[in-house]
Amino acid sequence: MDPVSGINTGDTAWVLAASALVLFMTPGLAFFYGGFVRNKNVLGTIMQSFIVIGLVGIIWVVVGYSLAFGPDVRDWGVIGNLHYFGLRHVSAFEPYPGGLFPTVPHEAFMGFQLMFAIITPALITGAFAERAKFGPFLIFMALWSLLVYAPVAHWVFDADGFIAANIKGLDFAGGTAIHVNAGAAALAAAFVFGRRKGFKQEPMEPHDVTMIVLGTGILWFGWFGFNAGSAGAANGQAVNAFVVTTTAASTAAMAWMAMSWWITGKPSVVGAAAGAVAGLVAITPASGFVQPMEAIAIGAGAGVFCFLAVQWRAKTSIDDSLDVVGVHGIGGMWGALATGIFCVALFGGNDGLTHGGGIDQLWRQALGVAIVAPYSFIMTFVILKALDLTMGIRVNEEDEVSGLDVSQHGERAYIFGGSGPVLGIPEAIPVHTDAHGHTDTAAEHMVRPEVGAKSH
């Protein structure tokens, strides 16, 4: 440890590795979601996560970080000021003056938080999969990042934020700030976007379950950075967060699989993957404060509660397409409350219900959720409604039938389906030509001399 700055190389090494792991989660999420959608929407779905790394990756370093972790405006605990605008005053050598991550450089803390800021809005995209117009989608993500994520992160994570400082809610790695927040936004989004064409009429099955498992594997791997990295150091709390994270995920995977086995007669692979994610979500807020045997309880709860939530949702007419509410909303809420139930003062924080602390902490946890969820729901609803009225947030029916890949991005994911592989023919995007030979002009001007029949 550097005696002047207090920077420790071991802690810094861990925070750097953890940040890389958390960045990797967003492509992981892209595959997790991409596997769930139909073939014709896989690129659009992957893109909705992937491009958020681009979009929020810029917004956050320019202004988002300062709003979330800048010195508090008027000491209201509501929002940070622009002291860190453009990362001015964010040192690569001194720690964050706000007290978090005291043994690593401030810029490393910023980079770690960046990865959280990226994945949170990306989580919401599952709620409106297969039907969002790409342009308005980008604007939504940008606004949500600034108007919802940045303030909520300030409230919950920043030492001056009112949930952290006044309510004293515990949220180690973001159960409330990230999962409850994204879950509530997802619910609002499902309402504003409305149901997909064919919802409950056509099967809309995952087009590639192996892609779902790939995404799950990457998420699990990355979540070690997410939770154990949130200790901000390679210390005992990080080690314990690491262990409880994997334990909860294991248990939830088993629990969800068992539920699917019991209810449908077969142990579902998709269910095991979804369960693992639910367990990772639920342990997130608790990971710095609970012990491994309690992680088993949290994981089991996550597997069962989220399964039931998803099963219930499937009976409603809400098209939260990839069950963001059921997994992140419910899982995050359970995790936030479970933190109040199972937390122990060992690593900092308080003793919870099962450790003689009474319901005090549980109450604080509930309060945090009760503030963040409605805020996120309402803001998301308003932003999306405004965008819908001005630009329209949803693709038209024809584009929805064609799929996002072709209609939004002009691309197709695979050239081996259908007659493709044998024939080596890419599945072209048909030009709309009416009977008089008039062609869709947008495309026309850039068409090159024909290929195909004329090759050789």
Partner: protein
């Protein structure tokens, strides 16, 4: 009996299937094909998104064997349901079938389809 082969737009398949079953025509098979006709398609090529015009497009072939007296009705159901009015709507062909056998029962002839 006749075999009706209809080459249609993939996005019209659902409508055609439904129109047929609504009139009680259940049995059919579908195959993905790649068709060439007057209609052209576009491929965006490469990282800089150059567009190519190609002449091979994904189509769906729907095949159903029906008894002689139903041929006209089935053809017209398909034609209406598959219609958009734009080039590329496809074709319907009618071909003779001499015999049909239901594997499960060994029944032959009109009763088998």
């Amino acid at each position: 009996m006749k075999k009706i082969e209809a080459i249609i737009r993939p996005e019209k398949l659902d409508d055609v299937k439904t129109a047929l079953s609504d009139k009680g025509y259940i049995g059919l098979n579908i195959v993905g094909v790649t068709g060439r006709g007057v209609q052209k398609g576009i491929v965006h090529a490469g990282r800089a998104g150059q567009a190519y015009s190609v002449d091979m497009l994904p189509k769906v072939k729907l095949e159903t064997v029906v008894i002689d007296k139903n041929v006209d009705e089935v053809v017209s159901i398909i034609q209406q349901a598959a219609w958009t009015g734009n080039i590329g709507d496809g074709k319907i062909f009618v071909m003779p079938v001499e015999e049909a056998i239901r594997v499960r029962t060994g029944e032959r002839g009109d009763i088998a389809v």
